[in-house]
């Protein structure tokens, strides 16, 4: 006997994500799920961003990694509201891990919460955590085909960052092709070229400030 169901497989995760979303919204915080491959510069970007916005915006970070607290230690130099979530064998964060992480962070102290997901361009995309937006991070060192090879993050992201632009003279990267692929997958997504290590993050910082302002107003 067949029982027809037709229901989202990740329904139980999504229900917890909605609880997280309500908690974050009630605290008046803007929340970003930051997704990118290992080594694309997510943590470096957060370090530079925290340094740049110190005293202007209050930013907290939940950072997911399979193991070690190295990222949290790096971020803790610039921010007191940082929680490391070790996923063990999990290649992405899920809503329940974020729910537990939120218990260790005082949202009332924050304007922005960044969830730095486990380095991975595929698995984290499908798991709602309760964020306002997903931000995808690529770097030019990874090659210009990465958007076309990982269309799900391009489709789901509100903003894409192309990091390590300072390496442009040294790597072969067809920016036109990269942009064209993105445009075909998601013509609404914005793409910003940045360099976290060189501090070329003006557009990103402005974008962050705008999100906070539009949340308040």
């Amino acid at each position: 006997m067949d029982i027809p169901i037709v229901e989202n497989v990740l329904k139980l995760n999504d229900e917890v994500a909605q609880i997280n979303r309500a908690k974050i919204r009630d605290a008046g915080v803007f929340c970003i799920d930051m997704i990118g491959s290992p080594g694309c510069g997510k943590t470096a970007l957060l370090e530079t961003t925290l340094k740049h916005l110190a005293g202007q915006l209050r930013i907290g970070v939940l950072v997911g990694d399979l193991t070690t607290t190295r990222d949290a230690q790096r971020i803790a130099q610039w921010c007191s509201d940082v929680v490391q979530i070790n996923t063990g064998k999990g290649c992405h964060l899920d809503a329940n891990q974020v729910r537990q992480g939120l218990e260790q962070i005082d949202l009332a102290n924050l304007d922005i919460l960044v969830i730095e997901n486990v380095g991975n361009l595929i698995c984290p995309v499908g798991f709602d955590l309760g964020q306002n937006v997903k931000v995808g991070v690529f770097s030019i060192a990874e090659g210009d085909d990465k958007a076309a090879k990982h269309p799900y993050i391009v489709q789901e992201a509100e903003l894409l960052l192309l990091n390590k632009m300072d390496l442009k003279p040294y790597v072969s990267f067809d920016l036109r092709q990269f942009r064209e692929d993105i445009d075909r997958i998601n013509s609404d997504v914005q793409l910003m070229e940045i360099s976290a290590t060189e501090g070329w993050i003006a557009d990103w910082v402005q974008w962050l400030s705008r999100q906070v302002v539009s949340k308040v107003s």
Partner: protein, 129 residues
């Protein structure tokens, strides 16, 4: 390996829908190609996730849907094996539509056990009548 997380989420979801005491034979799932689910990894993850659960021995029927591509020239939407497949009108700048679904479609339950095979059995009491 998000397949394992998906498999464990599926076990929890099936638990909600399976009538108590019933044996599930097959779990049918449909996944959009955006999800990047690898069928062989998903089968392996399913076997691992159902081990020593009420679903042990059940089969996962996973259907990866085709891409749906939209042609900007002739506006046609067509099914394709690969993303960015050109349109038959010759246009090469097609775009994917949706493709991120991940749904539990149905459960197939085992048939209930039938009557005992030896139907010629008669009660010894009947001989006394």
């Amino acid at each position: 390996m998000h397949e394992f997380s998906i498999a464990t989420a599926l076990v929890d979801l099936v638990k909600q829908h399976c009538p108590p005491g019933e044996k599930v034979e097959r779990v049918s799932v449909s996944a959009g190609p955006m999800r990047g689910i690898e069928p062989s990894a998903m089968q392996w993850a399913w076997e691992a996730a159902i081990d020593e659960t009420f679903l042990e021995g059940s089969e996962l029927d996973l259907k990866i849907e085709l891409w749906q591509m939209r042609c900007p020239a002739c506006k046609k939407i067509f099914a394709a094996k690969n993303m960015f497949e050109p349109c038959e009108c010759g246009c090469e700048t097609t775009s994917p539509v949706e493709g991120n679904e991940l749904k539990l479609i149905s459960l197939t339950l085992a048939d209930p056990p039938g009557p005992p095979e030896n139907t010629s059995w008669t009660s010894p009491l009947s001989k006394t009548c």
